[in-house]
């Protein structure tokens, strides 16, 4: 990071409080750790995106002409593994959450700064493991690692990748645990639970899922490694084991994990909608408790990934009902955000464009999720591109929109710099258009019967695949632009001032970038989103 261009009236902030790589790699400052995460998470996003690009390229034609099947299988597996475990799960919590939660609760740091740094190192080690496995030859099991293919048949680096996921799991556990303790114990006096920004509530709910779910995936991949590496019999059907047990254990974590991915984004959206409508969130308590509701109910719906796996039909019925029930707290959120716009003061800043995009795309993704949870439909569309479209709508259209929105909103706080407004608005539009072009056709081809994880396919699907690949190209451009202007804003700074959006919230009460201990004077506690009450943001 260049420090030359700082303005003359510079103050001591967390960025210029110490220079050199040691001051970063041994830092205990949650803000610096967040920046470390930002860099590493972006790296994995680019890598996962690269794999996605290659996948899309191969799918341009029905024949497998660009890559052989082995390479293709490795491509989508690495794409899924990297995007889920190394990008989307840590993205918002470890970058934005890490940076902002102490600021939002008025604390000097997270409760356990050392553990926070440790979590980043664990993440890096897990990432290196996975990268190592990838360079050695990759892994071809799909991100779901289903047995007995993964234990007894695959010839790829399953154990190394599994260990990478196992290790990274601990970084996620440590982050969640730090958040919970911080939110319980480090709130500045007077800051009651219902004065907390919804971003904090969402992260609290996320942390619960991280704590309660992640250990189970850890032990599951450990068992997988023991079976594959040492020949123990755990899931092996030839020795009486049940491969469906693996699926239960896997999804016990991996379904709640999708809420690890989306809840923080929902937290971001609450902040953005409030800030750019200059209004408090409609139905604050409902939105707050909806996060908790989603986190809890989300734990008992995992069987919806297994409707045709040989799971008992009666269990499927229970899981179907509970899955659909999650629509209720999700609906509460969507409707409350929409209602917040009513009589607001709506500004079309870039973060707000992303937020509005989130509402629309997550609605589509969520509603198609409900269709998948409908038993009679899922039997036909399970493991087709309908599912692929559904989860990209919620993960890319939902979470990444939220992440990008949050990054654009807090970038001035994190770096003190502004990015070009025109380009950023344009990129938000490009992302929206490219995204829909990429993934909407996949719903159609999915219902037509196009199975996922196919590197060759019958020619009647080609038109839709071409549209999808074209969309992915546009989408790629949409993500490239922010990469460029964010980096440019560091090299040729436009100074943002402490509060460019005139937003309320404790993070805007301190300077941008904040000083090492976050606040020079103890921050003033107000209700969340106190715009009309003359909160500090409004002049």
């Amino acid at each position: 990071m260049t420090q030359t261009a700082l303005s003359p009236e510079q103050h001591v902030d967390y960025l210029n409080d110490g220079y050199g790589w040691k001051s970063w790699l041994f830092t205990l400052d949650h803000k610096r750790i967040a920046m470390l995460y930002l860099v590493s998470v972006s790296f994995f996003f680019a890598l996962g995106g690269l794999f996605a690009g290659l996948v899309r390229l191969e799918l341009l034609t029905p024949q497998g002409d660009l890559f052989g099947p082995d390479i293709y299988n490795r491509l989508f597996t690495m794409h899924g593994v990297i995007m889920v475990f190394f990008f989307l799960i840590p993205a918002i919590p470890a970058v934005l959450g890490n940076f902002l939660i102490p600021l939002m609760v008025g604390a000097k740091d997270l409760a356990f700064p050392r553990i926070n740094l440790l979590s980043w190192y664990i993440y890096v080690v897990g990432g290196l493991f996975t990268l190592g496995a990838m360079i050695a030859g990759g892994v071809d099991t799909g991100w779901t690692f289903y047995t007995p293919f993964s234990t007894n048949y695959s010839n790829s680096y399953v154990v190394a990748t599994g260990l990478g996921v196992f290790i990274t799991g601990f970084s996620s556990i440590l982050t969640g645990f730090n958040f919970i303790v911080t939110i319980h114990r480090m709130r500045v006096p007077g800051l009651g639970w219902f004065k907390l920004p919804l971003f904090v509530w969402a992260h609290y709910a996320t942390s619960l899922v991280m704590i309660l779910g992640t250990p189970v995936i850890a032990v599951t991949v450990l068992l997988l490694a023991l079976e594959r590496g040492f020949g123990l019999a755990i899931f092996d059907p030839t020795r009486g084991g049940d491969p469906v047990l693996f699926q239960h254990l896997f999804w016990f974590y991996s379904h709640p994990a999708v809420y690890i991915m989306v809840l923080p984004a929902m937290g971001v959206i609450s902040e953005l909608i409030a800030a750019f409508s200059r209004k408090s969130i409609f139905g604050y308590k409902f939105v707050a408790f909806a996060s908790l509701g989603i986190a809890v109910v989300g734990f008992v719906v995992w069987g919806h990934h297994m409707f045709v796996s040989g799971q008992s039909a009666y269990a499927s019925v229970v899981f179907s009902f509970l899955s659909m029930f999650v629509a209720v707290p999700s609906a509460i959120k969507i409707f409350n955000w929409s209602a917040t716009l009513y009589k607001g003061s709506v500004a079309y800043e870039t973060p707000m464009l992303y937020a509005l995009g989130f509402i629309g795309l997550f609605t589509i993704g969520g509603l198609t999720g409900v269709m998948l949870a409908t038993l009679g439909i899922d039997v036909h569309v399970h493991d087709t591109y309908f599912v692929v479209a559904h989860f990209h709508y919620v993960m890319v259209g939902g979470t990444i929109m939220g992440y990008m929105g949050g990054l654009h909103y807090w970038w001035p706080k994190m770096t003190g710099r502004l990015y070009p407004q025109f380009w950023s608005r344009l990129s938000a539009m490009i992302v929206f258009v490219g995204f829909n072009l990429t993934f909407f056709p996949q719903f159609i081809m999915g219902y037509m019967g196009m199975p996922r994880r196919y590197h060759e396919y019958p020619p009647e699907f080609q038109v839709l695949h071409v549209m999808s690949t074209a969309g992915a190209t546009i989408l790629g451009v949409g993500y490239l632009l922010p990469t460029i202007y964010f980096i440019m804003s560091l090299r040729k700074p436009v100074h943002a001032g402490n509060n460019p959006w005139n937003a309320v919230g404790m993070e805007w009460q301190t300077t941008s970038p904040p000083p090492t201990h976050n606040f020079v004077s103890t921050p003033v506690v107000t209700e969340a989103y106190a715009y009309a009450e003359g909160g500090q943001g409004v002049h």
Binding site: Y342, L356, V370, M371, T374, G376, Y457
Partner: protein, 333 residues
């Protein structure tokens, strides 16, 4: 080129219409909600756009009636979809009683089918219209999933266990068979065709095939002798092992006090790992046949055991067994 874009694959089974119906209704519901939300978001954000830099929103904190409304409405819609979806699902699960049983063994990376009369096919399956067909299946290696998009049904094919699906074709033609569970390198090559024929054509096709094929039941009977099962499992009396007549579908009393339903998976387990569940009143004498019987032979053994009936003096086989399986050669059930 664009004529190939359709919204759904050919609808070629009795249930595909039902699946499409619930699908289109949910699409419609989703569309309504999506339009409402898009409209709300666009309309409100235009109407209440910021007009001067210092403008703040009107402080509105919520409205409990609205909250209740927009919680209850999705809940009711969800209940409706759930009930309908479950109904369709149960129809997809439960084959009609008169279904004919076909067999399928999946392995990396091919589908092996067997007709009730013993005909074998690889990656191709001929079926007649107008008759429910149940496929019982298992895998030799990893998990696969047998998927017929035009019949709107699929089911995973697992090693060490039997699963099943059923359909009743309505429209002659050729449709895709896909493997829908990722199973390794050639997963996308594990595809085939299902050829739906009129009963008459189907009969001709059967007649034109190899005539020396043995029905699964006859093959099972042969194995039952060849593997010396008969030495312990006699038709009339319980010798060393229990009589197997009428076993299939019954609840079996076990030595440790429990009971178990004698389905395909149980019979399979009894053959491969006989002492896992010991029948009440018997000693765990039966040797394991693990590694000695191939998957399709196992299926034949099971098919045979299913046909053993208490009353019958002689062991039925061949055409008699075919009839019992609910299938007649002129194609009418």
């Amino acid at each position: 080129m664009f004529e190939s874009i359709r919204l759904a694959p050919e609808s070629a089974s009795t249930l595909s219409g039902q699946v499409d119906a619930i699908y289109y209704v949910s699409v419609l519901i989703s569309l309504v909600f999506t339009v409402i939300i898009f409209f709300l978001v666009v309309f409100l954000s235009v109407k209440y756009r910021r007009r001067h830099a210092d403008q703040v929103g009107v402080p509105i904190h919520g409205n409990n009636m609205l909250e209740i409304g927009w919680s209850v409405l999705p809940f009711i819609i969800m209940l409706f979809l759930f009930a309908w979806g479950t109904k369709v699902f149960f129809s997809l699960c439960r084959p009609p009683a008169q279904s004919t049983e076909y067999y399928c063994v999946g392995k990396q990376w091919m589908w092996k089918f067997q007709h009730p009369d013993g005909h074998r096919e690889i990656n191709e399956l001929h079926v007649p219209t107008g008759h429910p067909i149940k496929i019982t299946m298992t895998s030799e290696d990893v998990i696969h999933s047998l998927y017929f998009p035009s019949f709107r049904t699929k089911c995973d094919v697992l090693p060490g266990r039997y699963t099943s699906l059923w359909f009743q074709p309505t429209k002659p033609g050729e449709y895709h068979i896909f493997c829908a569970e990722y199973c390794g390198t050639q997963h996308s090559g594990m595809v085939g065709r299902v050829i739906v024929q009129t009963p008459r054509e189907y009969e001709l096709w059967l007649a034109g095939g190899k005539t020396s094929t043995m029905t699964p039941v006859a093959r099972g009977e042969e194995l039952f002798t060849a593997l010396a099962c008969v030495t312990c499992h006699r038709q009339d009396t319980a010798v060393r092992g229990p009589g197997l007549a009428g076993l299939f579908g019954k609840r079996v009393q076990l030595a440790n006090g429990g009971t178990v339903l004698a389905d395909e998976t149980y019979i399979r387990e009894s053959i491969l790992s006989p002492n896992t569940k010991v029948v009440a009143g018997f000693q765990p004498l039966m040797p394991t046949f693990q590694g000695q019987v191939a998957e399709d032979d196992l299926m034949s053994l099971i098919a045979y055991i299913k046909t053993i009936q208490p009353a019958a003096g002689a062991v039925p086989a061949g055409a008699a067994a075919l009839r019992r399986a609910g299938f007649t050669t002129d194609g009418t059930p």
